[in-house]
Assembly symmetry: C2
Homo-oligomer: 340 residues x 2
């Protein structure tokens, strides 16, 4: 994909240029409905005001990418069971918890066209609601008969927390290398998508080789997803995406386009960029976006994301042809073609 | 205990008037050492700056009341196993996570004579470190052979989160009733101490009657503990206690002494108090403390705490006499006699 196509698509209405997620999800559509029911049942409390907050979280549910990966990985390698449905709700609860806490940390005010919990009910309520969601994720996971998934989910959330802490610690460090950036996004994003794919395959009775292939697939898809998320934060359309953008640069988080620019630019361009980055008020807006676009840095990031997607798709050669396998390949494409 | 004794003890050095926790912990001293080792091993990360933050959390470890309850409940009803050691570290991790997030929510700057994580590394780091600790709690718990403890811990943290959310929601409501206050502290504090005692007994092979008795004991001790914590926040000595005090009134949290005052005072005194409470700057300081002391409201709260302690202690009549049972009785006494 060319940068021009990508940017052009961004100003179009969200439904006209997106890959059709509905058709990609078709092989597991009814299973996703079960996941939604389990999710809703798990987070229903005996306190009405908690249920109101949770209703807002439900409106964030959006793409359901992680449960879809888990279910499709299962369907592509064997049979979907009740355990898959439970785990689908668990990984979505984990993801929702990270979104709610992320919005506190990023001082965001909008998420999927709705006000964030922090904007709606205050930071305190948002911290507590995130805790509530993660607690319910583990509670639901512990309803399974064996401990394997709990261990795996626990190890995954340990790593996600480390990734978030690493990102926070590196905030304001514009000397961040590409390798350090990749380490952060692997931990904070890709390990969870890898776990979704691995658990889906394992509980469907897949072979170890298939489980490993799907885990690698999930890891590479997660890396690509986060690179694109970071590109959209710089170059996306706030209306189309439906959440507050420009936060990474505003908060001093170096992501792949900026890392590429600072590495490749002439020394005078580099110095001019670093001078601007020193002042929070000058970190956003058209100038920076223009520089990152003209320099080819946005394009570089998107090409890297595409490279990870191709790498992910190659790992699925091992699986027999099926609708579910086709959907996984399509979801990987969606990751770089999405505008939301 | 009289209020005068209680307040007099508060200005004394912390070591002179406290019950000797060391002797109460004696029956499980070596087990507590194992718990500390498991705790430390679980939270060691491959990221040096994470380990530095965790080192600060270790300095909060303080009383280790929850692992001590779990181990003593086990010892009083049967045999302590490796599962008890693991669960001791799990409940301490859960407790530490709540402390770290509480400090963010309360805007506290000092905890156990050390700066809070939020004061030291910022709110973002504190939110993430709390998440890291809760994740490691569940991860460690999932290393056990069966799911029972994971389910129980998950259900407990669900309730703790609800209690915290309820407290946040009721902030600024000075019409809070005693029953509503008790519901909050049962959820946010007492359910965890109840779970510690119940799990300790269950994994020691106790009878269901013993498990139930210890669970009731833990619940009543937890309620008493929180009532005293709230009294200390109003009437305690910041130097002796080693953490920021006066936060409840400052943030508009009604606790038992204030609830009693507003319920029992003459209407003119009640109106004068409510006028002051409307203005955040007037909520703290000697005037309020003086009014709550003179009116007998602080004493009422302490007497209620003592009543819960007696109620807790009666439940242990069911257990055979042992050093561990004596220690549980002594710990219950400590809860109302402590000044830290």
């Amino acid at each position: 994909m060319k940068l021009d196509d990508f940017l052009a698509a961004m100003v179009m209405a969200p439904t006209t240029s997106q890959l059709d997620l509905t058709s990609a999800y078709a092989p597991v559509r009814r299973d996703l409905d079960v996941v939604v029911r389990l999710f809703d049942a798990e987070v229903t409390a005996d306190l009405p005001f908690v249920n109101e907050l949770v209703a807002t979280v439900r409106s964030y549910r959006g793409k359901m990418l992680r449960p879809a990966l888990l279910l499709l990985a299962g369907k592509a390698t064997g049979t979907i069971t009740a355990t898959h449905h439970t785990l689908g709700a668990v990984v979505e609860l984990v993801h929702m918890a990270t979104l709610v806490h992320d919005d506190v940390l990023d001082e965001a005010t909008e998420r999927r066209r709705h006000p964030t919990i922090a904007a709606l009910a205050g930071n305190t309520a948002a911290v507590l609601l995130g805790d509530f969601l993660i607690s319910h994720a583990f509670h639901l996971c512990s309803s399974l008969n064996d401990q394997y998934a709990s261990r795996r989910i626990g190890a995954t959330t340990n790593t996600v927390c480390e990734g978030e802490m690493l990102q926070d610690w590196q905030q304001g460090n514009f000397a961040l290398t590409e390798a350090e950036y990749l380490d952060i996004i692997r931990r904070k994003t890709a390990v969870l998508t890898a776990t979704c794919c691995a658990l889906g395959a394992r509980y469907a009775g897949a072979s170890q080789a298939q489980i490993d292939a799907l885990e690698s697939f999930g890891l590479a898809v997660g890396v690509a997803f986060q690179i694109v998320d970071d590109v959209l934060d710089i170059a996306g359309n706030e209306h189309t995406i439906g959440k507050t953008l420009g936060l990474d640069l505003d908060l001093g988080k170096a992501t792949l386009p900026l890392i590429h620019f600072l590495r490749e630019a002439e020394s005078s361009d580099r110095a001019a960029m670093l001078r601007r980055l020193k002042v929070r008020a000058e970190r956003t807006g058209e100038y920076l976006r223009g520089r990152l676009e003209d320099s080819g840095s946005l394009l570089y990031a998107l090409q890297e994301a595409e490279r990870y997607v191709r790498q992910a798709q190659c790992r699925l050669d091992l699986l027999p042809a099926s609708d579910a396998r086709s959907s996984l390949l399509a979801l990987a494409d969606f990751v770089v073609q999405r505008q939301f």
